[in-house]
Subunit: 216 residues, 2 copies
């Protein structure tokens, strides 16, 4: 893990990996536009989908964006090494997975250990295990009264890495997949802003695989 | 399910089953002492443990309490039929499991369908599956940042019945099993009070196995 405490007040570069709309990226950019996250520079957005809407979003915001074609690589690790080379060359310190629908190789996870953050639209460990696409329907079907969102470091399991940040919201009785998605989306952005601020200020502590954010 | 709407404003009797301290019972009695739950009458507390501290608690509060000895019955169902006979004779409408450490027979669950409420010290489905005794340690070990409590109707599975009420609290970084237990204990009482009030007022709706509480 990078010792951010020693680097406080310096700008740091983040890389984003996204397969679809990358909606949380929008929230991060809006937070920056409102004067937050001044130390964060979105250095590169990579996608594994040639037609991902996040590409257009990047163009609108004049962000560097690149499609890396998975079919051009023989193995998952070769693809991941190409991605890592792009990030490393730019000096990317932290990688955010924002709707990245592709399994990472153990090599990649190891290479960026405690430097890859994934977001999951539930209170893990509940409704984890790779059900991202149908998670809100599963939540409604289960009749739970509370859900939320989780940001966690990525390890070699699915939705299993050390949890950094969680926040809960009530599930109302007239809730729909769409209403839940909207609310959790807002939480996701709130989480990314909180965690990026904490990273910038060296307030993320990992102890025996348990993460906590020190108070600002 | 009893049609409480037709019975609104009438007193109704609850039975309690407890194996240990029955701490939530104390909270319910305190709520009554403060003027809440005026329609609720705790008709009988049954325990399967001869030395359960809940027995002394009942004596202090002049509540009817009875130890039913499991070793006096050949099968789980025979024990449960004896328990049911006691509750039925008193006209108990709703049964609360408050730290009741014994599996219920399918017969009992069927007999009191949608009339048995269990409390679990986590946000189910997370940290369910019968781990009541060590649930807070498991929560701390998992490094989750949010936990809470669940009240649910009992079905034939473990911690699997329809969820009635849930509420979340943050897990602080200096949290201990004891601090968590205290906080969740308070939530449990809050949940029992909310659900008993809703029951009294006919505000509990079950629809396709999903429960919700109508607004008061």
């Amino acid at each position: 893990m990078i010792d951010r405490e020693a680097k406080m007040q310096q700008t740091f570069k983040i890389g984003v990996m996204a397969s679809t709309r990358g909606s949380d990226l929008q929230g991060i950019l809006e937070a920056q536009a409102s004067g937050k996250l001044t130390q964060v520079e979105v250095a590169m957005v990579l996608t594994n989908k040639a037609d991902a809407p996040v590409i257009e979003r990047c163009h609108q915001h004049h962000l560097s964006c690149q499609f890396v074609d998975p079919t051009a690589f023989a193995t998952r690790e070769e693809f991941d090494r190409a991605v890592a080379a792009i990030f490393d060359k730019l000096g990317v310190e932290l990688i955010l997975l924002i709707g990245y629908m592709r399994i990472l190789s153990p090599w990649f996870v190891q290479h960026f250990q405690s430097r890859i953050i994934n977001v999951h639209p539930s209170l893990l460990p509940a409704f984890g295990g790779g059900m991202d696409l149908n998670v809100h329907q599963a939540i409604l079907d289960a009749g739970v009264k509370v859900t939320g969102c989780t940001l966690h470091f990525v390890d070699e399991g699915t939705d299993s890495g050390p949890i950094i940040w969680q926040k809960a919201i009530p599930v109302e009785h007239d809730e729909t997949v769409e209403s839940l998605k909207d609310k959790v989306q807002q939480l996701e952005v709130e989480g990314f802003v909180a965690v990026l601020e904490a990273w910038a200020e060296g307030r993320i502590v990992i102890n025996n695989n348990i993460v906590f954010l020190k108070d600002a």
